[in-house]
Subunit: 310 residues, 2 copies
């Protein structure tokens, strides 16, 4: 091990940080609560302390830098969070430069779904390809596009907002102002809310796991929820396949255990709506790194930046 980097996965209330070598080997990991109620200064302090703790462990190799995955829009050139629903108190401050100054080391901020896509591309399900799209199915749906081994950002860093593809033109309303966004029909939250709407369980707040167990037990309503979710995903994926002609599209997140219940409807729609899919060896698969994808992707960023410079 000649070099190592530190990746940080910053969530709304927790953070994880990991030291990773240039081959993607996990050297060590720490977790911390960010306690956002204690304010901006405290959270930045926790980020810096977690990184310093890992650096202090003397891994032996040269320290390349830090990558931080953040849920929100990043202005990449400025190293500023433009908008983050979970971390509003970190918006519009020179966050990257501030952390760089405290660490005396290079720092790169990246959107969390982009970081996850990059992690899968580096050492996960996409290690064999140069180009892939990742959809993260969670509260919403995040998207990350990796092209020729690098994240596609667009001119302001807002590329990959794939949860807001319109898949049902007059569908469920979305906080973004649209109706029928993919994430309002195929996210983990869409599944639980639809189950509540359909009264699939006697109690009002079913979990995704409960709905999955009901589907597995033969409940037709629960099965129909996953079927409907799979159709929405398939419409969205077909559009991505027709647009990019990438070899690989990955799915990650809570609903993945229900693959057998949503994937048939998903593939049916993709086959119908994409002749590119029907006529080429295009793969739609489960991501491999689970909730570690963003951590590894964040750690890869300083290696990638170093290679580009050098």
């Amino acid at each position: 091990m000649n070099e190592y980097a530190i990746g940080v996965d910053l969530g709304g209330t927790n953070l994880r940080a990991a030291a990773v070598d240039g081959e993607g080997k996990l050297l060590g990991q720490v977790a911390a609560s960010t306690s956002p109620e204690k304010g901006r200064e405290h959270v930045i302090g926790e980020i810096v302390a977690s990184i310093e703790e890992l650096r202090g462990r003397q891994w032996g190799g040269r320290f390349v830098g830090v990558g931080i995955g953040v849920p929100g829009f990043i202005l990449m050139e400025k190293g500023v969070i433009l908008n983050s629903n979970n971390l509003p108190f970190l918006e519009n401050i020179p966050l990257r430069d501030e952390i760089e100054a405290r660490l005396g080391a290079p720092v790169i901020l990246e959107n969390d779904a982009n970081a996850a896509a990059l992690g899968e591309s580096w050492i996960g399900a996409g290690a064999e390809v140069e180009d892939l799209v990742l959809l993260t199915l969670g509260t919403g749906i995040g998207g990350g596009i990796v092209y020729q081994g690098r994240v596609m950002h667009g001119f302001l860093g807002m590329a990959g907002e794939l949860g807001h593809l319109t898949v049902v033109p007059n569908g469920n309303p979305c906080g973004c102002g649209n109706v029928g966004c993919l994430e309002k029909h195929a996210s983990a939250t869409a599944i639980t809310c639809t189950a509540e709407l359909m009264k699939v369980t006697a109690h009002p707040n079913p979990t995704a796991e409960e709905i999955y167990q009901l589907a597995a037990g033969g409940d037709w309503k629960a099965q129909q929820i996953f079927r409907s979710m799979g159709e929405a995903l398939g419409i969205g994926l077909a559009m991505l396949i027709n647009t990019f002609n990438f070899p690989l599209y990955l799915l990650s997140g809570g609903p993945l255990p229900a693959w057998d219940y949503f994937a048939p409807a998903m593939f049916e729609q993709v086959k119908r709506r994409s002749f590119t899919f029907r006529n080429t060896n295009t793969r739609i698969e489960k991501a491999k790194l689970g909730n570690q994808a963003g951590l590894f992707g964040a750690a890869y960023l300083p290696f990638q930046a170093q290679r580009q410079r050098g």
Copy 2:
């Protein structure tokens, strides 16, 4: 003028070829009928003869090579047309290598919509940006994606099939096997067919120009056709904007004179369905080079390849 290249725009029954210098200045142009009924050998001969005629004019500068825009799927690495509805007799033969051998000069094949997008990016409406998407509204809808100044191809050269984005999940059936494809709701042909369906004119085969004149004269049915077409375009464009976060999206083709009749509905949908559009300086504009875009883009390909090698 130190160097020049030759661009070819190959259509179903005609071809155009142009000598262009490295600044995008048109030096000379020829046109020919390909007479496809005379067969493959004749068409290849016409292509080569047109190029040779331009080369023979002694432009003075060094000849860099040839780019050929073709309506169809190109396997880029092999230089083979995989599928072309208009030129089926040129499918699955080593077309690039054959023309290279006859000319003794490097040849690049490119999809025609991709070539047009590259032309607009080089010296047209996109000359000030690095990234753009072009939609060509014709019999169908072609798409070209230029990222960091280069055409995005995908792993098999099939990227940019944007005419087959699903914009109406249960909409008009398409020859690709899907229903509700963008090109079945927003192409020039979609406009004329809808007009026929609505009996906008007393005769059965209205032209796009007639429908435009009717809309301009106040005919509400004709206006509704452009409104509906604009809505479909807007749904598709919103998805592209959310996906790419590029600064510029261009439209070209026959329906452009009706801009005032379809653009309001288009922008209404884009604003509704893309918070990226609402919150950034994202432009949707008319392309500038008209039917010369593909010719210039094809001519630019050898310059670009030379720069990449050098």
